[in-house]
């Protein structure tokens, strides 16, 4: 690290500005420094936008501790007043005047154009102006007319945001409400302890003290070993974080669930999910001996997105991805952030316990891609559409505490709000077909979100405890 930071030009300091040509060795070295600048810049921006992950924050803090003067910059940026003051300084330069001077000194001249070219530009400009003024007039006239007839009534609807809520169903059918459970051991399943780490976090610990894969080996031949299944589910307005027995991390969005064994045995790790779940699957080669042996696959069965329809299956090897399979969304969306997964559809009547899908039906998903799985009752017309260039940050924004949408219609936004704020939504009349792009912290009250949408042209009213979207 220090090598990375140290200025390579101590001795060369007295050299004048000639260094820094591309391809010149000095530049090569300095470029790595600039990479560091770029990296820290990106992290600071993420922090500023509150999009920074825990790992990234750790990374950033490490780098900042190494450089006290960078820390100062961070403080400046995160102080709103200071940031605005700095932006002001940033803009306090007459760029046009300087450009004039620079282009004079560098002997630049704007390429001269022919008489005809010049005139054609003017004609086009004039036509454009006419078109625009007509459009403006038309638009303003239309708006005025609307304004006189329609009264704008802002709605104040106060619904607090969701929080860390979930319930755990044990193998014996007992249900534990995790909201009021105290931190510490909340249940025991065979040799495993279920531990509530803090609000919103659940983990498993083997009471024998051995790491789980070792036990795995011990029990390899023991067919009578009983496997206990637990189900963690969140209500509407809830979210929860779970560390699976193999160390894989799972985040549950509102109205979602995951069913999993309290210990993974054999070569397969298999879980079943509904709703929206974000996975950070732990690498499979945890076994201490013989690293080259068979990898333990991780399989996620996604329950039907609509009643009666088929589900989906995702096969994983150490990866990060998000599944969105809400019943009211019609499609199962799988977004891959890292690694590799394979996706297949499962017919409606297929049992979810055995691998009934043939390998040929799997489709491979690469990072940055999203698979849209549309399932049908018969399973015959199932289709998997792979979409490239997905904004993965957007897909997992919920996990980072943001409502995020891009070109989303009002109904999909309202479905998201209904799940998080546990409210019911209805529609009246013809709702305008606007598309929205944006994000807002999930910690905001629903009124903030609705105000934004109102400002953007939507209207709401409250009726029988339901939020009604009106034209």
């Amino acid at each position: 690290m220090p090598k990375y930071f140290s200025f390579p030009i101590k001795e060369r300091r007295l050299k004048l500005v000639s260094i820094g040509m591309p391809g010149h060795p000095d530049t090569e070295m300095n470029l790595s420094e600039l990479d560091e600048v770029e990296h820290v810049t990106a992290l600071l921006l993420k922090q500023l936008r509150q999009e920074i992950t825990d790992d990234e924050l750790q990374d950033l803090n490490n780098r900042l501790t190494a450089h006290p003067s960078w820390k100062q910059i961070q403080d400046h940026l995160n102080d709103e007043k200071q940031l605005l003051a700095d932006l002001l300084t940033f803009n306090q330069v007459d760029t046009e005047a300087w450009w004039k001077k620079i282009s004079e000194q560098a002997n630049l001249h704007t390429p001269s154009r022919s008489f005809l070219q010049r005139w054609s530009t003017w004609v086009v400009a004039a036509l454009l102006m006419m078109a625009i003024s007509f459009a403006c007039w038309y638009f303003i006239a239309a708006k005025k007319q609307k304004g006189t007839t329609e009264k704008y009534i802002p709605v104040i609807i106060n619904v607090p945001p969701g929080g860390n809520k979930a319930s755990l169903t044990l193998s014996n059918g007992d249900v534990i409400n995790l909201d009021n459970a105290a931190n510490g051991t909340v249940a025991e399943e065979g040799n495993e302890k279920v531990i509530k780490l803090q609000s919103g976090e659940l983990a498993y610990q083997s009471s024998t003290g051995n790491p789980e894969p070792a036990i795995d080996k011990m029990h390899e031949g023991n067919q009578s070993e009983i496997i206990n299944y637990n189900t963690l589910s969140t209500p509407r307005g809830g979210q929860y974080h779970l560390v699976l027995p193999d160390g894989s991390k799972v985040w549950l969005n509102a109205a979602s669930s995951i069913t999993y064994p309290t210990r993974f045995t054999g070569n397969e790790r298999r879980v079943t999910v509904t709703g929206e779940v974000y996975f950070e699957v732990a690498p499979s080669n945890l076994s201490p001996a013989g690293a080259g042996e068979t990898k333990r696959s991780f399989t996620v069965d996604v329950l039907p997105s609509a009643a009666g329809a088929g589900g989906g299956r995702i096969e994983v090897l150490g990866t990060i991805f998000n599944v969105n399979a809400y019943e009211d969304e019609n499609v199962i969306k799988t977004t891959l952030l890292k690694g590799k997964v394979r996706i297949a559809s499962l017919p409606a009547d297929a049992s979810f316990t055995l691998s009934s899908t043939t390998t040929s039906a799997y489709k491979l998903l690469l990072p940055g891609q999203q698979a849209e799985l549309t399932t049908t009752t018969s399973g015959r017309n199932d289709s998997i559409k792979i979409i490239d260039g997905i904004d993965t940050d957007m897909a997992v924004a919920w996990k980072n505490g943001l409502h995020s949408f891009k070109n989303a219609d009002i109904k999909s936004i309202m479905r998201m709000l209904a799940r998080w704020y546990n409210v019911d939504i209805t529609y009246e009349g013809k709702i305008p077909d606007y598309k929205f792009t944006g994000s807002i912290p999930r910690s905001e009250n629903i009124s903030s979100v609705l105000s934004m949408l109102q400002y953007a042209g939507m209207h709401f009213k409250l009726k029988d405890g339901k939020i009604v979207v009106v034209p």
Binding site: I19, G23, E80, P432, S448
Partner: protein, 214 residues
């Protein structure tokens, strides 16, 4: 309608530019000496370069001079750059060196050699941090520049010029009608609760939403 006469059309703002012409074609034009490409690169980096230089030499006029010099140097050897990061690296490194030279020169008039050495070490220590600062601000400014025109206007009036809502209404000639009620409400919203939590993401989305059909 703040269109320019550039052949690529529209305002050449940093981020917007990516949409208007690919980095590659910009680079080709830059290499072949196209003035518009020079201007595009200038718009992209000059404010941040100025900020960097000003902070480094702690003198606004001198900082701007140095940044401008770096730019002239860039243009004079325009044929030798293959990537945008290369151009950026050249600009920052050239500016840094010029700033250090300036400091050395001005200190030589007043301070002893010992002080000079001390100063240089301190400066070296701060060079990268100022660079980071300039780069972050460049990105933030990019985002603000990307806002819809009217929103950008309001943002700048509120935060850069500290104008009150009334003043803005007069300035932008927004009458007291439905639209204005909404705008005022919006400003209030930005100002009170939203700004404190992640100014950028919220403000940006907030304002972006307004432009979908305004």
């Amino acid at each position: 309608m703040d269109c320019t006469n550039s052949p690529w059309g529209g305002v050449i703002s940093h981020r917007g530019m990516k949409h208007q012409f690919q980095d590659l074609s910009l680079l080709q034009e830059f290499k072949s000496g196209n003035t518009h490409a020079f201007k595009a690169v200038y718009d992209m980096f000059f404010p941040s370069l100025c900020f960097f230089a000003k902070r480094l030499v702690d003198n606004d006029a001198e900082g701007e001079d140095i940044a401008a010099d770096s730019f002239i140097k860039l243009i004079n050897r325009h044929g030798s750059f293959d990537t945008l990061p290369n151009i950026k690296a050249f600009l920052y490194i050239t500016t840094r060196n010029a700033c250090l030279n300036y400091l050395r020169f001005s200190q030589r008039q007043t301070a002893s050699k010992k002080d000079l050495a001390l100063l240089q070490d301190e400066t070296e220590e701060h060079v990268l941090s100022h660079m980071v600062h300039a780069e972050v601000l460049r990105e933030v400014e990019n985002e603000i520049e990307q806002l819809p025109r009217r929103c950008r206007q309001i943002f700048k009036l509120i935060y850069y010029e500290r104008k009150s809502a009334d003043e803005i209404a007069t300035l932008l000639d927004i009458s007291i009608n439905t639209v204005w009620v909404q705008r005022a409400k919006a400003i209030q919203l930005i100002r009170t609760n939203l700004l404190k939590k992640g100014m950028l993401s919220i403000l940006l989305c907030f304002l972006a939403m307004t432009d979908n059909h305004s």
